[in-house]
């Protein structure tokens, strides 16, 4: 193994061999290579290795394990038709994938048996001699099933009765070649409550009485992955089960344009309140938190650790009992077996990076508004609190109620954080005063966020979803589309498409 010493010598030689040098550097290296036989051999060797690497990676591209090729043209590819049948794709693939004699088909099979047995997941890889492509729907279906199955791993452990869980595929006429196992319809566990003998896998955040719990704490960091799951399921024609819906993650998938912090402040809060569109006697509060952006400098995100803006960040909301009777944090629903129970007093806040943004919605019942409808999960109906200021002035009528509240402080948002290199905590306070605005007069961002929340609540069959329909969601979201030049547009059009697809699924 007498490999030339110079093999680990100079990145410039590698760059030259790979055609990456320009100008004087290239000229100089050319001259050096011409004059030096060892260097010539080195360059040849690098090129030979590069050819091997390229060929191996090209072959890898040609045997996709995840992506299926696109059978048609058009942007509509992004949103493939629901319930399309199997699709055969005969156009030869592009690129360096000429030498494909066989392609791999994966048949993931999820066996999900609880009650003494561990959940097992196995994928059988079968090489077939012909190139055959599956549709994107199939691929996505597979992925969605894996995702849900994983999510349920913890939940299934709680089940006592043996039971097989699959996600139903509506068009599923399981063919023996691709899907050798039966597809069982998974029982839905929506608001009607679990079936007999089934545990509750999901429970909505209830309305809380301000007199009992005057303070609410929010995590500063919310993942956005929940939206992707909902999107995959709906696109494959499956109505997502209630416990798969995470409204807070759906909300935080979408970018919003919140004002950036001014001066030395690390965070700015974009607070807004208007009537809740699904329940006009209630108020809807949008809390948008925007962290300061990093100074633009190339190379600051070099793949390793991202810079930290602040540590131990948490968001606290103090409600004014004079303006708020009950409140409900939308999303963050409790899940059986989940390790991510929130948002009750996290032991520690989150570390956030520059430009961090988080969005949360609270639904508020003003004093005097539908006190009788204590709502499911509501605490004991102890009636109206004695001594609450001016409860009788407030009518249940929205406009009147709002007028009564106008100009009064509704809540205060406190952002607690530490600087990365400081031990002591800091905080910023943002009070919110209710101007009595109606939903229609709210900002586009507010209305869009409300549409997303409502969408989630309808999919969950939430007890708090009110009278609104998917048609309303569509109308609100469509009315909240930004300027065409704004890159929020892509996200919002994508959402519109998803709501339309959801309309097509069984209500």
């Amino acid at each position: 193994m007498n490999y030339p010493q110079s093999c680990s010598s100079d990145p410039q030689v590698t760059a030259f061999a790979l055609g990456q040098l320009e100008g004087d550097e290239r000229v100089a290296m050319e001259a050096a290579v011409r004059a030096d036989l060892t260097l010539q051999a080195e360059v040849e060797s690098i090129r030979a290795a590069a050819a091997l690497i390229e060929e191996a990676l090209a072959a890898e591209m040609a045997c996709p394990e995840a992506p299926a090729p696109i059978p048609e043209r058009g942007v509509e590819r992004l949103v493939p038709p629901v319930a399309a049948g199997r699709f055969r794709y005969d156009e030869p693939r592009r690129g360096r994938s000429r030498s494909v004699g066989a392609t791999l088909l994966r048949f993931p099979q999820l066996y999900y048996v609880a009650g003494g047995f561990a959940a097992a997941c196995l994928a059988v890889i079968v090489a077939v001699p012909r190139v055959e492509y599956r549709t994107r729907e199939e691929a996505e279906g597979t992925i969605a099933r894996i995702a849900l199955a994983r999510q349920r791993a913890a939940e299934a452990a709680a089940l006592t009765a043996p039971m097989v869980i699959y996600i139903n595929r509506p068009e599923a006429a399981p063919s023996s070649t691709t899907d050798p196992r039966p597809v069982t319809v998974r029982p839905r566990l929506a608001s009607a409550g679990p079936g007999p003998g089934l545990p509750v896998l999901w429970k909505e955040n209830p309305f809380l009485r301000v007199t009992q719990v005057p303070q609410s704490v929010l995590p500063a960091e919310v993942d956005a992955g929940g939206y992707g799951l909902v999107r995959r399921l709906i696109r494959q024609g499956v109505r997502p089960p209630a416990e798969a819906i995470r409204i807070e993650e759906m909300l935080n998938y979408f970018p919003f344009r919140y004002p950036t912090p001014k001066g030395d402040a690390l965070f700015a809060a974009a607070l807004e309140v208007a009537s809740a569109p699904w329940s006009p006697a209630h108020r809807l509060v949008r809390i948008g938190l925007q962290g300061r952006e990093a100074e633009e400098k190339r190379g600051s995100l070099s793949g390793a650790a991202a810079p930290t803006l602040a540590r131990d960040v948490r968001i606290r909301v103090d409600f004014n009992p004079a303006s708020v009777a009950r409140y409900r944090l939308i999303g963050y629903d409790a899940r059986a077996g989940g390790a991510d129970e929130r948002p009750d007093e996290p032991a520690r806040g989150d570390d956030v990076v520059p430009g961090h943004r988080v969005t949360a919605l609270y639904e508020i019942v003003p004093p005097g508004a539908d006190e009788d409808a204590d709502g499911p999960g509501g605490a004991v109906s102890e009636g109206r609190a004695v001594g609450r200021p001016e409860p009788l002035r407030l009518a249940t009528n929205t406009a009147d109620g709002a007028r009564g509240l106008a100009g009064r402080e509704l809540l205060t948002v406190t952002v607690q954080y530490r600087l990365p290199d400081e031990a002591g905590g800091r905080w910023l306070e943002f009070p919110l005063t209710d101007t009595g605005a109606m939903f229609e007069a709210a900002s586009a961002d507010f209305r869009f966020a409300a549409a997303v929340a409502q969408f989630g609540m309808i999919l969950q069959a939430s007890e708090y979803r009110g009278a609104a329909t998917l048609g309303d969601v569509l109308a609100w979201a469509a009315a909240a589309l930004p300027d065409p030049a704004d890159d929020l547009g892509g996200y919002r059009f994508d959402f519109l498409d998803l709501v339309r697809r959801a309309q097509g699924l069984a209500e």
Binding site: P11, A59, I70, R298, A305, Y491
Partner: protein, 179 residues
């Protein structure tokens, strides 16, 4: 049900063909790249979808000429965002070694072409993640050092060093396979 927004096009810039061509040509490529970054095809799919959603809002004139680079850059940002949120940034920590994905012993002797490819792939898969990424961007996706530098926000010199180190290591390993 009444549909209050008829005929909303997915793109807002009129040149849906531009976006469509990019999607068709690069979707699989990006998915593979994101899968390599994330180590997980499910998340990769979401990240790629997000990338194309973002693309929809770009006017062709704004990114024409470097559209593919733009796609990889946005995709990478989004993937790192996902990793960061999951505190999995260590995957890309500098100097991380032996991301072992291949357990089979190194074969010796003459190899058939397919076998060679498989072996080479397994060797590539053993490179540290940061080297794997640039190697794939170079040899699988065909980007130049400069383009890779912009995508990864590394310096061109750094990209050159990573590729050089990876290629040198692979060459030594190839050599060891030969009798």
């Amino acid at each position: 049900m009444l549909n209050p927004v008829p005929n909303v096009r997915v793109t807002s810039h009129g040149d849906s063909d531009f976006h469509a061509r990019l999607f068709t040509a690069h979707h699989d490529q990006l998915t593979r790249y994101a899968t390599q970054l994330l180590g997980d095809p499910e998340r990769a799919r979401d990240v790629v979808q997000d990338t194309f959603v973002k693309l929809m809002a770009q006017s062709p004139t704004a990114i024409d000429g470097h559209a593919v680079e733009w796609l990889f850059t946005v995709c990478r940002h989004r993937a790192l965002d996902v990793l960061r949120k999951e505190s999995r940034m260590t995957r890309f920590a500098e100097g991380q070694v032996e991301n072992v994905t291949a357990n089979e012993p190194r074969p010796g002797g003459a190899l058939e072409a397919a076998e060679t490819r498989a072996t080479v792939l397994s060797l590539i898969n053993r490179l540290p993640p940061n080297q794997q990424e640039v190697v794939r961007l170079k040899f699988q996706h065909g980007f130049s050092y400069k383009e890779i530098a912009r995508i990864t926000t590394l310096s061109v010199g750094n990209v050159g060093f990573l590729i050089h180190t990876a290629v040198a290591r692979l060459r030594a390993e190839f050599a060891a396979l030969r009798p």
